[in-house]
């Protein structure tokens, strides 16, 4: 245990986290140049493209210290978005230290701070690392000053490196050995292992990623998940090298994997504690929270023939995403589909992109919704997360919507614009706390619906990326809710229906109408787009018809050329959804969901 170090790297986006991880991996010889693929940890295409980490990843690095001793450095990579903040907290809970990586040219940024606070919450040893010192625009002295003034860390504790050029890597490894405390725990005690992630392997089934705090686990053991008392027989334990490496056992302090015949990742709860069935620990490790979907939307295939493909793909997809839930749904306008639950809007976008890319599906998403609560006149209460299940307005006695407490950390200079944004989003009961003269902590109680709609994007934009944001569900509160429908040439497009606060109805409907107007190509006849509450029209736009598209000639007898052109157009039209007589491109549906970035 003395030779183990568990650490994570945290950084603002693009400050070089993945590159540094790659270098550490290369330096310790886990991967050689031949098998090396840049950004080993971000191994989903979408992660590499967006520069964000979606799933937690871990890798064990064998390192020979200057003291001549052999160490195992376990690097646990963490996701970097508010939708996944719970996952981040579980990963950090598995570490004793973090490298906080700062771009020498850009200096301390929003996420640097947000992550720092998280690390502090977990009482971790924090090592500031200044990256990209080779850049001409690097200003190391300024960053050192920021480490002191803005982060409140010992400025002398920093390290310097250029992950890209491989400068300073050994020094980082050596400092991890020196400064990150070795894990504590009792290898002989009852097993207590923290699950920080799980992934699905098509040959091995669910692979549980965990950190052992106490005890020892080996193949043949009967383990128990403390959350639901489910028991499994351990088939294999091991460490994450570039590929999983089987070991005889995992003991207190280790980070590794357990394979135990768990069918799907949905059977595993991140943050849950694994113990031995025969000798359980007294209580689970702290911090477990059941992750519940917050945002709901329906997914439909563009071509109704693709329904089965979509069903098959979701079945495969969910093997690897425990926070995603779905069930069958159908729409008058869009046909058969699925109602799905997500952690947040980013999660929704990720699921959508992965379905499109990895499973080659063309899908349409309905407008996302939170779960509302209605009390009916007959005294019953119904929960509705799907606008098509909106109760008969005559039967509703009262309606409530979920509220969250938003915690925001931001430079003081953005306070005015953030408060304005929060007010606009129906925020109330704020608290303000000056952490330093330049930095404030602000909390607001806000309807979750406002937060999922476009709050996060706008918050990032008004704080120029310097603000950090997190939220917790608090309770349901009475609200004046209405159902807004969108009609295209008098046909209701149920996938665009939204349950909204009455005050929000008109602007939201108008925005939807205008987005559709931008995205729906002009057609042979005028298209009226209307937003309605019941029979009342609250918003309207019109797409004028085009008047001329016919080409003058058919090029002598060359009919082929003209036909090919039409065939191409016809194919394009097939990728659109017909609502009555109007072809609506997939983008139009997405545009309605997009935030209003000013």
């Amino acid at each position: 245990m003395k030779n183990i170090r568990n650490f994570s790297i945290i950084a603002h986006i693009d400050h070089g986290k993945s590159t540094l991880a790659d270098r550490l991996i290369q330096y310790t010889g886990v991967s050689d140049a031949r098998t090396f693929k840049n950004q080993v940890l971000d191994n989903m295409e979408i992660e590499r493209e967006r520069g964000i980490t979606i799933k937690s990843q871990a890798i064990s690095l064998p390192y020979q210290g200057r003291d001549g001793k052999s160490y195992i450095l376990n690097l646990i990579d963490t996701p970097g978005h508010v939708d996944f903040s719970y996952e981040v907290s579980r990963s950090l809970a598995s570490c004793e230290g973090v490298l906080i990586l700062i771009d020498a040219a850009q200096g301390v940024q929003a996420q640097t701070l947000a992550n720092l606070y998280l690390a502090m919450e977990h009482d971790l040893e924090i090592i500031p690392v200044i990256n990209k010192i080779d850049l001409p625009s690097a200003d190391v002295n300024r960053v050192i000053e920021q480490i002191d003034r803005e982060l409140g860390l010992d400025p002398d504790s920093h390290l310097k490196c250029s992950a890209k050029e491989g400068i300073g890597i050994e020094n980082i490894l050596e400092t991890i050995v020196e400064r990150v405390p070795s894990p504590r725990g009792d290898p002989e005690g009852p097993l207590a292992a923290l699950i920080f992630d799980a992934h699905y392997d098509s040959f091995r089934g669910t692979v549980i990623h965990c950190r052992i705090f106490d005890g020892t686990v080996k193949s043949g053991n009967i383990i128990r998940f403390m959350y639901n008392s489910a028991t499994y027989k351990v088939e294999e334990v091991g460490r994450f090298m570039l590929s999983p490496q089987k070991r005889g056992s995992l003991s207190a302090g280790d980070v590794g994997y357990i394979i135990a015949g768990v069918k799907t990742v949905s059977d595993v709860r991140t943050g849950d504690t694994i113990t031995l069935d025969g000798r359980p620990c007294i209580q689970p490790l702290p911090g477990f929270r059941e992750v519940k979907p917050m945002v709901f939307a329906s997914i439909y295939p563009i071509a109704s023939d693709d329904y089965q493909d979509l069903a098959d793909s979701l079945e495969k997809y969910i093997l690897n995403d425990a926070s995603f839930v779905y069930e069958k749904d159908s729409s008058v306008a869009l046909g058969q589909g699925f109602r799905c639950g997500f952690l947040g809007l980013l999660h929704l976008e990720i699921v959508q992109e992965r379905l499109e890319r990895e499973y080659d599906l063309s899908i349409i998403l309905s407008v996302p919704s939170v779960r509302y609560r209605f009390t009916l006149k007959n005294g019953t209460t119904v929960k509705v997360d799907n606008p098509s299940h909106y109760p008969d307005p005559g039967s509703i006695a009262g309606s409530e919507e979920p509220y969250i407490r938003a915690s925001m950390m931001l430079p003081e200079r953005y306070l005015g614009s953030v408060m304005k944004l929060c007010m606009e989003k129906r925020g109330a009961n704020s608290t303000l706390n000056y952490i330093t003269p330049e930095r404030v902590e602000l909390t607001y109680e806000m309807p979750l619906a406002e937060v999922i709609f476009d709050f996060y994007d706008r918050f990032k934009s008004v704080t120029q990326g310097y603000g950090s944001f997190d939220y917790d569900l608090i309770d349901y509160r009475p609200s004046n809710l209405v159902l807004v429908d969108i009609l295209v040439n008098k046909e209701r497009v149920d996938a665009l229906s939204q349950i909204v606060h009455r005050e929000r109805a008109r602007p939201r409907a108008l925005q939807a109408c205008e987005r559709l107007k931008e995205e729906i190509p002009r057609q042979m006849f005028k298209i009226a787009i209307q937003g309605t509450i019941g029979s009342e029209i609250i918003a309207r736009t019109t797409i004028s018809a085009f008047r001329k598209d016919v080409t003058a000639k058919c090029y002598g007898g060359d009919i082929t050329r003209k036909r090919k052109l039409l065939e191409k157009q016809k194919k394009g039209k097939k990728r659109m959804k017909m609502i009555g007589s109007v072809s609506i491109p997939q983008n139009a549906f997405l545009a309605v969901l997009k935030s209003d970035t000013d």
Binding site: R547, D549, V550, K553, G556, D558, K562
Partner: protein
């Protein structure tokens, strides 16, 4: 089914017009070799295309060939194929090339329809288009053709030219109509990428009129010609009466087979399309070996035939005879597309009359989209 039509592509021009993307060469050096090759090509198709009731000599510029050359071509066709005694035989001419004697000679060799590439009577527009004739030549050509005794005279005009005032177009159109031609083709200018105009457009030097203007031009053209008693029978074509519609072009629109001879010419036999090399040397080389100079071909699937029949039919005033469509393509448009057709009818884009699905004038203007129902 109607008898097939014969198209002969003359691949020569004295100069290239700035908008034209049809194949032609400005050197007449290979004229004799071309005539030889054309003869051999006719031989190849003698059995598969025994007879025609229309012949259309186009190009290129047929009128750059000598009267003797044109006569050789026509004789060659008459000797190898059965040409209907009442066949429509058209030659395209450039106003700069013709005189009364030549026109009389054309008439004597059996040509009964002349199509004059007038394009415009506005000097600026003619220059912009790179035509080698001027307004005076265009007008005198019209008079000469009439004096030569032709009564079936067609004229090609172009509108929607960058920078053109609407009145420039309506003046040209009214002047053309004052000659009372049997037939008018009014083409909205299409800019093709590989042409001088296409290159200028890509550079941002010239801009086509916007869609609103083009629509106005289209409807005004229709209004002016119909007021003068013409039938707007196809998107770009107008006839003084039903009999004077271009019988040859009609074949392209109703899936009648046609044989195209000469470089770049397209042919259709009812289910297969093929086209020749757009290169005179390649054309000659193949025919020296008595090989068909075919660059590529395609056999049309039912769905492709259906789409073609739909878009071609919806370009014409008479539209699509629904019963014929059903019989020929095995597709009942009226029942398969009932909903959208009734909506289009309600919106005034199509009408169903005497068993035909016809575009209205408004519908004809968006015929490309109509075909995508």
């Amino acid at each position: 089914m109607n008898a097939p039509g014969l198209y002969i592509h003359i691949p020569f021009c004295r100069s290239k017009c700035h908008y034209c993307s049809f194949y032609s060469t400005t050197s007449l050096d290979l004229a004799e070799n071309f005539l030889d090759a054309l003869r051999r090509e006719m031989d190849i198709y003698r059995t598969s295309f025994p007879g025609f009731d229309t012949i259309y000599i186009g190009g290129g510029t047929p009128s750059v060939l000598s009267i003797e050359n044109l006569e050789t071509i026509l004789d060659g066709a008459a000797n190898r194929f059965t040409v209907d005694s009442r066949a429509e035989i058209t030659v395209e001419v450039n106003p700069a090339d013709i005189d009364l004697i030549g026109l009389k000679a054309l008439r004597n060799m059996g040509i009964n329809r002349i199509n004059i590439g007038a394009q415009s009577f506005d000097e600026d527009i003619l220059k912009f288009l790179g035509r080698r004739h001027n307004r005076r030549e265009a007008l005198s050509a019209l008079t000469a053709v009439e004096r030569a005794g032709f009564d079936n005279i067609g004229m090609d005009l172009i509108y929607g030219v960058p920078g053109q005032e609407i009145t420039s177009w309506t003046d040209t159109l009214r002047l053309a109509l004052s000659f009372n031609p049997a037939h008018l083709s009014c083409y909205q200018l299409t800019v093709e990428p590989e042409t001088p105009l296409g290159i200028r457009q890509a550079k941002g030097e010239i801009f086509l009129p916007d869609e609103e203007t083009l629509a106005d031009l289209f409807f005004q053209t229709s209004g002016i010609t119909e007021k003068a008693g013409y039938i707007h029978y196809e998107v770009s074509n107008f006839a003084r009466n039903l009999e004077l519609q271009s019988r040859h072009n009609q074949k392209y629109w109703d899936h009648t087979p046609y044989l195209g001879l000469g470089p770049a010419a397209h042919s259709f036999d009812g289910c297969r399309r093929w086209w020749n090399y757009p290169s005179l040397p390649a054309y000659i080389k193949d025919l020296e070996k008595e090989t068909p100079p075919v660059a590529a071909s395609e056999t049309l699937a039912d769905e492709q035939l259906r789409l073609e029949a739909l878009f071609l039919g919806l370009r014409t005033k008479s539209g699509i005879r629904l019963q014929d469509y059903k019989l020929r393509y095995g597709y009942d448009l009226l029942s398969e597309k009932a909903e959208i057709i009734s909506l289009l009818a309600e919106r005034g884009l199509v009408k169903i009359k005497n068993g035909c699905l016809k575009p209205t004038l408004v519908g004809m203007a968006v015929a490309d989209s109509l075909a995508l129902i």
